[in-house]
Assembly symmetry: C2
DNA sequence: GTGAAGCGCTGCGTTTTTTGCATCACGTGA
DNA sequence: TCACGTGATGCAAAAAACGCAGCGCTTCAC
């Protein structure tokens, strides 16, 4: 897109905070890039960047302008997607930001299913906890977000939600595995792996733990689901997860690969809400909109009772 | 704005429906313009125009793309306005579409008041009846609209309204001038000048006339307020107007330049609503937003009881 | 205190892109 | 049928963008 070059360049310089560094990334010389920036500043009528000894930084005008550029790029992507769609090509690119919960089973399944029909569509999946995901939506770095508790910004538009209980995961040989439902007092003196504090699961757990004044024997804190799952096989500790992050069988109470999951009583730890949504007021590219539809369908199949649209 | 040139060119061709005509307006040769169009179509990956023997016409993809271009231009204007605003220059351009009612006194007064503070702000005032004004908002050809009855499109966002009774205007020597309030039956066999059918005033009048089955002796139909006002001095006929289209004194019942205005009883002709608003979801340029604020303030001063925000 | 390194900026010759002229092929309407 | 107006194209000139070398400046390490 030739008519976007200058704007892309400004965006790149804003990101790199340096003309020379941005020039390198863009595969041109710093002098050419410098002159493009100067020219645009001239056309705007005032500087967009502050010049520091260490590089450049956006000033207020620049912030406004770069925001415009990003919005423009996002809208162009939408238009291209729509144009491709009406010629039947079904090309496109979808960017999703999500917490770790959905990355293991849900998103891979849904994307595979989507690409089975539209294999010219490509994806960016960025793992980000709720607050960062919302910021990524706002700066148009992503199209869709899946956020498990809580929603902080009013410019997040929820399209569908599903309620999720918090589950304990453990080896099937663990002493708690024989229980159908876990109460928090069962966890007294039990070794546990906790998600990090940004995680929605952790925040729900905190609600219960604070209320009942229970201290877990937290042996480890991690934001890695893979680590947790694998570690549970090695030691008699419990981890925490929500159903969407578990294989269907495991969520149904059956053991999978030596692990089992048991729900925590909702009197102790409240259910949380998984939100699927996008930036309020944004018109999504066709591919992203259709992918969101499919996600909601898949959620409805998996959690028929708990889906709200 | 060099980086907008190609897009402006596409927009121009779309408007002119001819490359050669557009080239003339843009003061370049048709061959240069033609090649820019071809290049953009190449970058998009498919044609935006149908080639006819008589010129070109947007195809579906082109419609989408031109819509994007216009949105982009409008957003750029907004950003420029904001940037100018934060440097204290207060430059800007405001485009208003309005029915004829406000063009005589209200808009001139408000604009004069606005430019007293921000004399670097320029204006485009286009006189358009409601439906056309709403279309102009939607195609981003205008920023603000003042519409007197009715609002047809859901993408019109009303910011403030004021209720307006319909008044009869006439020479102070007219037989009806001695009445304080006009009833429709007074108008039987009275010679009248009516606004055209697109006008909100006309539509309100029709409601009353239909209900009471009264036929006016319509001597003339016009969309020109100036004509009506001037003609009333020459012959014993009545015209119709709403208070915002009258000088304050006249709306208060006092004669001005030999003319008087008398309200029609609201039992006969319902009050109408004057809407001030913009396209839903649009972020207005600073200048336009501030001008709208001032319009609403002015409305509040003039009609303190009837303003809704 | 001093020198090296990194930054944005600028003069100048070169390369790339854009433009304008002349012209073609094609459809339309008198 | 033929003149007219349309968009497209080959080619040379004009214009814009680019890369190189180097300037002035600040920062940071020694």
């Amino acid at each position: 897109m030739r008519f976007m070059t200058s704007l892309r360049f400004v965006d790149a310089v804003a990101r790199e905070k340096s003309i020379r560094k941005a020039a390198e990334k863009l595969a041109i010389t710093s002098t050419a890039l410098n002159r493009r920036i100067l020219q645009i500043e001239d056309e705007i009528g005032q500087p967009l960047f502050e010049r520091l000894a260490s590089g450049v930084r956006l000033n207020t005008a620049g912030e406004l302008f770069v925001q415009h550029i990003r919005a423009q790029q996002a809208d162009l992507a939408r238009v291209q997607s729509q144009i491709a769609d009406l010629s039947g090509i079904r090309r496109g690119h979808v960017r999703v930001a999500s917490g770790a919960e959905t990355l293991r089973h849900f998103l891979p399944d849904v994307i595979a299913r989507y690409r089975a029909e539209h294999n010219a569509v490509t994806f960016d999946i960025s793992r980000q906890h709720g607050e960062a995901a919302e910021a990524a939506l706002a700066s148009l770095e992503t199209d869709l977000a899946l956020i498990f508790e809580p929603i902080r910004r009013s410019d997040f538009q929820t399209i569908a939600t599903t309620r999720q209980a918090v589950y304990c995961c453990m080896a099937e040989t663990h002493e708690l595995a024989r229980l159908e439902t876990i109460r928090l007092h069962h966890l007294l003196d039990i070794q546990a792996i906790l998600p990090t504090t940004q995680s929605g699961i952790r925040q729900l757990l905190n609600v219960g733990l604070m209320r009942r004044n229970i201290n877990l024997a937290t042996m480890l804190e991690t934001d890695s689901q893979e680590f947790t799952q694998n570690y549970l096989l090695n030691e008699q500790v419990v981890g925490f997860q929500i159903p969407i992050g578990l294989p269907q069988d495991m969520a149904d109470g059956r053991p999978v690969n030596g692990l089992v999951a048991r729900p925590i009583d909702s009197q102790d730890v409240p259910h949380g809400t998984l939100h699927i949504g996008h930036l309020r007021g944004r018109v999504l590219p066709v591919a992203a909109a259709k992918f969101m539809d499919l996600m909601i369908t898949a959620l409805g199949e998996r959690f028929p009772k708990d889906l709200d649209q």
